[in-house]
Symmetry: C3
Amino acid sequence: MQTNGVSITWLGHATFKITSPSGKVVLIDPWVNNPVCPAEQKTIDKVDLMLVSHGHFDHVADAVSIAKATKPTVAAMVELAGWLQSKGVENTIGFNKGGTINVDGIKVSMTHAIHSGSTEDGTYGGEPVGFVIEFENGFKLYHAGDTCAFSDMAIIGELYQPDVALLPIGDFYGTPAALSDALHSLGLQDVEVVAIKPGQTI
Amino acid sequence: MQTNGVSITWLGHATFKITSPSGKVVLIDPWVNNPVCPAEQKTIDKVDLMLVSHGHFDHVADAVSIAKATKPTVAAMVELAGWLQSKGVENTIGFNKGGTINVDGIKVSMTHAIHSGSTEDGTYGGEPVGFVIEFENGFKLYHAGDTCAFSDMAIIGELYQPDVALLPIGDFYGTPAALSDALHSLGLQDVEVVAIKPGQTI
Amino acid sequence: MQTNGVSITWLGHATFKITSPSGKVVLIDPWVNNPVCPAEQKTIDKVDLMLVSHGHFDHVADAVSIAKATKPTVAAMVELAGWLQSKGVENTIGFNKGGTINVDGIKVSMTHAIHSGSTEDGTYGGEPVGFVIEFENGFKLYHAGDTCAFSDMAIIGELYQPDVALLPIGDFYGTPAALSDALHSLGLQDVEVVAIKPGQTI
């Protein structure tokens, strides 16, 4: 897997800590206290940009505490950004699907996802989303958020052409090996499936 | 129409009572007090599995009372399951689009639908959904919930290959006869359209 | 641009005032106090039909005041219609995606859009929508609401065949000239792109 100077660490569930070529830290869907995150990686000292895909507990649980400690820019769907702000998170950016923001040279586009999006309080947190992150050197990473399969993922591919995709699999593609098999049966032998482990960096 | 031992009764609107080959009763979108449900079918004595597609009154109106009386497993979008639980419904399962649960040998997959999903209280009840039910003998039934037409219904067909689909029609395909004509014009002569009547069982 | 007796005035942002061949005034997403609406066009004396695509401030800001002053029929997603009614708006029609209403000879179909839909109060206002309006003479106009690109816009084209589309562009197609270039590169030379100015009527 060529990541072109971008360091991608999986912390379990949908939580990824990504270090950009210039050393910026992007934290996505912060739930470091999930059962599989290695103990020594639960403490996050530095975050420059935090992205949250939707308001469910398993994607947002540690967002407020880490944001208060590390003071990143925090970008999310407009309703969820407002909710985070209401919890004392500063420097929030609320935007919507199809929109792109530029945070100190890192571009983030918000993509469609099909799921639900309440907050921990039971209020409406806007629609669930995914993100395409374009790093300073042009390397592009797609984090799908929580979603079922949908054909307009093809639009995401066409518009953004991500180099790597972080995908939630399970009920249908099952294991990474099954996803790889499915891709091969579609003639997509050049797509590399990486079965990353919690705490592992690629 | 071959239903392979599965008995499907339409109780009007989106309400269906389905008996599985092993005698389990599945009740979908319980609103038996709708104007067209025959009086003698308004009383439901036994439900093993209740599915609710979204929180609108015409899909959930009798869910709480029937669930309290018959004690089924009740499965719905996670936010709606939480709402039902808050009304005193027990044995709820909250899941999300693309997910599959197995309730005593009956598999239920939650599918996408395009509509809105508030609860009777005006709160956010998650996104509206459809269901694909796979009965003990492999027979598969798709209940689309409330939805407009969307092309990713093709994904539902591809992934689950349902044997029968319960579809809300009206504004575009109009009558069952018009739907049948539309299917024929697309060369889909082998799709049988059944214009079921309230209270009728197929 | 042939508009067949339909007069289309852009008032900035997503706000359009449209006069039908028979003289009826349709006002969409009323936010006349937006920064670019010409001062002399901020006062709306007559509205027969008001349509609101979703509950965000920049689409609904002047809906209540204009509705109270001009007493139109006000049509929106069912949750948003309920919210408007709760603010004292009369003659609301709540419907849902895929549905069509007929208001004194003008047909309005509600279409899918991909965005979020809270109200100004932070409550759930249903899903965001677009509209296809068929005027008395058969001329059809599509107002996409706020949405990212999605492939099922093709279904809207196929089912309704609109004559003109009011589209939110920006992040991807950018300027009207870029949209025109993109259409040309797809071989769609017969699609005319009109770069309308705030306050301008076509």
